[in-house]
């Protein structure tokens, strides 16, 4: 998962901005474009938000990062080589937790069998109420 190689393999160039945005996503774990931008700016003041958007697009295209939709509509990005996980979003308190794939394996399997549908687990977000709020 070397940024340099993945980019060059598709004719993209390695730039400090791209390195920074990837670092941001890896560090923040669940980064929205805004959050990634804020992180990047702490190290390099002049990086523009539009560069962040363009870079996230490129990084996703080359397969280094993925995104999921956690809240209303804000996409959040995470490193593609992070352990696969399902997001659990509590609609009462907003807390975001994670569940490991085995939890949903049966569902994934059922979807393939009944609908021929191949689920992308790392993009899966389950909304509901967390333990604290469920009562």
């Amino acid at each position: 998962m070397k940024l340099d190689d993945e980019l060059r393999a598709r004719g993209y160039r390695l730039t400090p901005q791209r390195q920074l945005v990837l670092d941001a996503v890896r560090t923040l774990e669940h980064a929205t474009p805004e959050e990634a931008h804020a992180w990047v700016r702490e190290r390099s003041a002049a990086v523009n938000i539009s560069t962040v958007y363009r870079t996230l697009e490129v990084l996703e295209e080359v397969g280094l990062i993925k995104h999921a939709h956690l809240n209303h509509g804000a996409p959040t990005y995470h490193a593609a080589d992070a352990p696969e996980h399902v997001h659990l979003v509590c609609r009462d308190c907003g807390k975001i937790s994670e569940a490991s794939p085995p939890t949903v394996d049966l569902m994934v399997q059922a979807l393939v069998e009944t609908h021929g549908f191949v689920a992308d687990v790392s993009h899966l977000t389950v909304f509901g109420s967390c333990q604290a709020c469920a009562r």
Copy 2:
């Protein structure tokens, strides 16, 4: 599930606009605000898009409709008394299909047991590849 009663019970008024928006959501089944607005305008030309947004909010608050996030960020609304279903969104061809709750019951159960997390199934969207695109 009478609009009139549900609204009045919370001090809201029954208006033609609210009736129309609810009809739109019930008829369209998976309506974005724009789509609902388009449908409403076919019957009553002057209804404003901002009224549609406000009405969707009210209808959801009184429990007559619910929303899920199917694509990028556009919320789609459906009647709360429609049969519960899980949305399957194909990221390759965009097709939206539905799966019945039993398919995901085991997952829901597993989430409660392992995380104490109570999933809201009718808000669940699974992204992946449909049968046709999976090959």
